[in-house]
């Protein structure tokens, strides 16, 4: 080994510090409405300035990884629905990708396009929840009624029509999708996409360029690019720092290589940039859905796969771009009907860690603005 001192290291300020003994202690949560679930953050302050923050989690822990060891592969898809419950479609998809990679099965083209359409609709629905709840966090209630109560409901209606469920879908299956789209569904999606362009303009006037909202979020909670990568941040939070990274482009899965779209990036990685990137992503998703609908041809929606199957011995990892970032499944198989070990790489859990260093130095009133802008789902943090 060469001289240790010549090896560069990560800048020391990126490391968190355990809570100092001095200062006022504030326990935020676990039942605080702005923590979006049950998360507790133990905050120490000096006057109005946060000096340390330690998230305390596990309130929603359901031992998904342990449960998976006792279930067959198709049964696990149901468990993945319950991770990030605002984006169950992409959870299903990520797990199926990992199993399909290990089994090396081919997916019919129509099923792949249907996956892209529901996956992107899910991204819009998930970002609508973010937009609504983030508005409430900052003090604007109307966007919630518009984005959450109107547009997301329409997407859930479309999902209900294609798979019968509104929240936990179990739609994407190993080898394809559960069922083909019903008669007239594609036309309804097209109608929704057309109208959504107008709604996005409405969001810009309601919230994006609202001076009060901008004052509360611009230049707040800045994250540098170097810091974001070191902490493993993915998804819109990483792109807000100006870093172009998207699993759909970097490590394409499904048929994303056949579709053209941009990766919106922010400038300085503050709360407003993180918000703005999500709004732009909705626009890109609409473009993707349009192209997928154009390219989709009639055909099979399920590959040739036996009713009971075994996954070959070995291991596999597949990941995709979920609404909150890089969601992956690492599966170790011993040839039996259930996995020997399944590990979930959850974007929310990894993104949340940075709170320990990100909150430091900001005012107590900014804590909610920063926490909300990271957009976590506790079902996935605790699993």
């Amino acid at each position: 080994m060469a001289n240790e001192t010549t090896v560069p290291t990560v800048a020391p300020e990126v490391f968190p510090q355990v809570a100092p003994e001095k200062g006022m202690f504030i326990s935020l949560g676990p039942q605080h409405p702005s923590t979006h679930g049950v998360l507790r953050v133990a905050i120490t302050t000096d006057g109005e300035i946060v000096t340390s923050a330690q998230p305390d989690l596990g309130y929603l822990h359901r031992a998904t990884e342990k449960l998976a060891e006792k279930r067959t592969y198709p049964q696990i898809i149901v468990l993945t629905d319950r991770l990030d419950y605002l984006a169950a479609m992409t959870n299903n998809w990520s797990f199926c990708l990992a199993v399909e990679k290990m089994m090396a099965v081919a997916i019919p083209e129509r099923a792949d396009y249907l996956r892209i359409i529901v996956g992107e609709l899910q991204r819009i629905a998930s970002h609508c929840v973010f937009l609504g709840t983030y508005g409430i966090d900052i003090g604007a209630f109307t966007p919630f009624l518009v984005a959450f109560g109107r547009e997301r409901e329409r997407i859930l209606d479309l999902f209900e029509e294609i798979c019968g469920a509104r929240l936990t879908y179990n739609y994407i299956r190993i080898g394809g999708v559960m069922a083909d789209a019903p008669e007239g569904w594609e036309a309804k999606v097209r109608k929704f996409v057309k109208e959504m362009w107008g709604h996005l303009k409405e969001y810009d006037t309601l919230l994006t360029y609202n001076p009060i909202f901008m004052d509360r979020t611009q230049n707040i909670g800045k994250m540098s690019q170097e810091m974001a990568i070191a902490w493993g941040i993915t998804g819109p939070n990483l792109r807000a720092t100006g870093f172009k990274a998207d699993v759909r482009k970097d490590d394409p899965y499904g048929l994303y290589s056949k579709i053209s779209f941009d990766i919106p990036v922010g400038k300085q990685g503050d709360c407003w940039d993180r918000y703005w990137v999500r709004i732009q992503e909705m626009r890109e998703s609409l473009k993707i859905i349009d192209q997928a609908l154009d390219q989709m041809q009639p055909g099979d929606t399920m590959g040739k796969i036996a009713k009971t199957f075994r996954v070959p011995v070995g291991e596999g990892y597949a990941h995709l771009e979920a609404p909150r970032g890089d969601l992956g499944f690492y599966i170790v198989s011993d040839g039996t009907p259930s996995p020997y070990r399944m590990h979930i790489r959850p974007p929310s859990f990894v993104n949340l860690q940075i709170l320990q260093v990100l909150l430091k130095g900001w005012k107590v009133s900014d804590v909610i603005a920063i926490l909300g802008s990271i957009d976590i789902v506790l079902g996935e943090v605790d699993r």
Binding site: P8, V14, P16, V18, G58, P312, G314
Partner: protein
């Protein structure tokens, strides 16, 4: 870089490191898999993180597998610059007191992921600044993801 080029770059510095070969008929990705000893892990991580040709700046995930006779800690590394990948595996033979050096000083993102492994499988990470349970309550007995874990019957059993 291709897997062979990554391997030769690393082996130029660490001649003893061996690739884990792919077994015919077994499922595995096309990433490069390396077997590392716990003693060498930290220095190797420093090297692959800061070497300009390799530049594995992004640690995707850390996890562990209980193989009944031993534990295995798996590190999945990605370079955001070169878009190549590397999987490191550390074998931990000692089941009563399993210990691996922490790499949270190289990639801070390992902070909570190592805490989760400690919480679920009881592998200690030497040098971790805050190694305590993260998802389970502090007074929980045993490590649930171990294969020999016997759950304590509660009022629902």
């Amino acid at each position: 870089m291709t897997a062979a080029e990554i391997l030769s770059t690393i082996q130029a510095k660490y001649p003893g490191l061996q690739e884990i070969p792919k077994v015919l008929g077994q499922a595995r990705g096309d990433e490069l898999y390396l077997s590392v000893s716990a003693a060498e892990l930290h220095a190797l991580c420093q090297f692959v993180r800061f070497d300009p040709g390799l530049s594995f700046d992004y640690l995707s995930f850390v996890t562990s597998v209980d193989w009944k006779t031993h534990f295995e800690v798996v590190y999945y590394l990605v370079s955001t610059l070169h878009k190549h990948k590397l999987v490191l595996k550390v074998k931990v033979e000692d089941r009563t007191n399993p210990e691996v050096p922490t790499i949270s000083t190289v990639w801070p993102t390992a902070d909570w992921q190592e805490r989760e492994i400690y919480d679920m499988m009881g592998i200690k990470f030497k040098g971790h600044y805050n190694l305590r349970r993260i998802l389970l309550p502090d007074d929980w007995e045993g490590f649930p993801l171990r294969k020999d874990y016997a759950p304590k019957p509660d009022r629902y059993d």
